[in-house]
Amino acid sequence: MNWLIAILQTVLFVALAPLLAGFLKFCKCRLQNRKAPSLLQPYRDLLKLTRKQPVISEDASWLFCLAPYIIFSSMVLAATVVPLIAVDLPTSASADVIVLVGFFAFARFFIALAGLDIGTAFGGMGSSREMTISSLAEPAMLMAVFTLTMTASTTNLSGAIGHVLNEGLILRPSFVFALFALILVAIAETGRIPVDNPTTHLELTMIHEAMILEYSGRHLALIEWASQLKFMLYGVLIANIFFPWGIAESFGLSALGYGLLVIVGKLIFLCIFLAFAETAVAKMRLFRVQEYLGFAYLLGLLGMLSHIILESTR
């Protein structure tokens, strides 16, 4: 039964990710006074791409064809670890938060390799940029996550969320810092606006798009789906770590339904917030990204320090 719910949760993750991306696009369009495409448009795009024949360059190696599958499956594996509607699932007990970061790193490694594989200028440029950003973003994310795990004294995500949930409402200075750090990292890692612009193919600014420029057909569909999944993973992480109230602790039908309703509400709120932020902020220069991520790291570090100094037992 528990395994069934775990599988159901992962399927929900995979199925809802394009909808979330569609909703974010909807919010942004409405804020910019444009007519929004249908919420189902990402699904239609994915369907259209899977029907098309992939065009593969002559110089591509086996790695290029294999990479989309690896990236997508590592994202699905990451989705099994993150609690969406219920805690204490058997899959989330098997891997902790460091493994989750590892899954992200694994997918990123292969997407960067795939970008380099074809040997075009854009792919290499995109890969080098992606690796630069991720090398700065990863420590910041780990720092933010360690603040949580030090508080809960477990690195298991589900255990940590359960700990926060059972403690009731406690204002922790360290969590405020960790929340801001994680939001900044999530924006950088999912390629949202101040760092990367997901809607443009302007050669000077693109990072993620540069790496996947050569992909088409079902390969492109898988990569797009994986990045939508990654976006949803970060959203759920932020929502469930810092505002875990409402997540199901028992596996009754009503508890699960309530959990689903609550997480949908939290994600809608997060999307609206993100859409506002993206509409108000301009994309920054590539060379200022390190300042931005340095700030995220500083926040993570401050969270850790304030956990030690302000909240410790002495």
């Binding site: 403690e167 409402l169 406690i170 204002l171 922790r172 200075p173 360290s174 405020v176 810092f177 500083l298 926040l299 401050l302 304030s306 100094i309 302000l310 909240e311 410790s312 037992t313 002495r314």
Partner: protein
Amino acid sequence: MNIESQDFYTQAILSMSALVGLTSFLMLGQGRLLRLIFVFAVQGLLLTLTTSLAAYSLDNPHLYISAVLTFALKVVFIPWMLHKQVLAMNMHRDVEALKNNTAVMLSGASLMVFSYYVLQPIIHTSSMIMLNALAVSLSVVLLGLMLMISHRQAVAHVVGFMSIENGLFFAAIVATNGMPMVVELGVAFDVLVAAILFGIFFLHIRTSIDSLDVDLMNKLHEVDK
């Protein structure tokens, strides 16, 4: 002491003190004047929130008045005035290249450690909360001094001065549940007068050395060299 065992008021005060400390650090590393003024206003807002929180949970109505004063002066009036002056003197586009930014930030961090060290003996006489909140407010004072030393623009000096006052105010709210009303009114009035006087000083400095960069004052001599 464990944060889980504290009441909600204490947790909130601790969170506030952490955020106030963060805004001080942000001001220290900020090269753009308008953003510096904005962060200063945010710090003022945090102080207002702390004051109203203290007023609510300690049931001390006169603190509401001081919260309103703080809001009016430090969130609205002074930032607005500085903002207007920066725009009027056309300095909003200059980015002040901070010399040895890393060294400044590091010494800021060591100042924070220093304030903890200095206040360590206080544990014997009062709670841990007091130590944390007082250490943060002392470090806000020291970081304000640091800001005045490290920046060259006169506007940044004024912001540093005001943030020193913020640190003292925070200590007063947290440690002694607010000063007597007379003292608070006096201090608020002093801050207001200081802000206006600084405005006049800006004008004079600008007319005499044609810039607000105080490093240029080193070139002023009685006799020509």
